[in-house]
Symmetry: C2
Subunit: 113 residues, 2 copies
């Protein structure tokens, strides 16, 4: 039903999406998978094999920070929070996204599509 988003756009949106979600408070991988699907109305369906490496890179680069937590049910979760570096990166990513969207809209306009 919902048209799937093409590969490169998944790659381009993963970092700003994760950082944006964490800007709203702590979260963990599995929850973010659901969150993204919800936010996109089902069109963005991340695989876990894609998300976890993303989270590891963001943590390695100091944009997010993780801590292990045990639930009452005995399940382990890795909660992540946004760091100051992450906040700055999010600002830059939002600016980039706006720049590209503006440029694309300009091209769409000139072509009167």
């Amino acid at each position: 039903m919902a048209a799937p988003v093409y590969r490169e756009l998944i790659a381009a949106s993963s970092r700003p999406m994760v950082l944006s979600i964490l800007a709203g408070g702590e979260s963990y991988g599995y929850q973010m998978l659901k969150q993204v699907k919800l936010l996109s109305g089902g069109s963005v369906d991340w695989s876990d094999g894609m998300l976890y490496p993303v989270l590891h890179r963001l943590e390695r680069d100091g944009l997010i920070a993780g801590r292990w937590q045990l639930t009452d049910a005995g399940r382990r979760r890795k909660y992540y929070r946004l760091t100051d570096r992450g906040k700055r990166q999010l600002s830059r990513d939002r600016a980039s996204w706006r720049t590209l969207t503006t440029a694309l809209e300009a091209a769409w306009g000139e072509a009167h599509v």
Copy 2:
């Protein structure tokens, strides 16, 4: 001066950008490099080593069609035009872009950034 756009976003935008430009009429590689820089206010600065392979892929996949032309000055140019397949792909890419932008804005809203 203009903040550069990050790598993955370049990748994600190259196809819809090229298709959009060609939706406005024929063009060639070198001209598109200038056009993109103009449309983005200088923020999107494609390298030729990135664009030409993109054009070759799009032509291979039948989304654009090229023809060689000689200018009066004796320079060779490869002019490209949008095919019907390319038009359909452009529609899908625009839809994907809108979907992601909406999802990101939803995330930004929830985080009241």
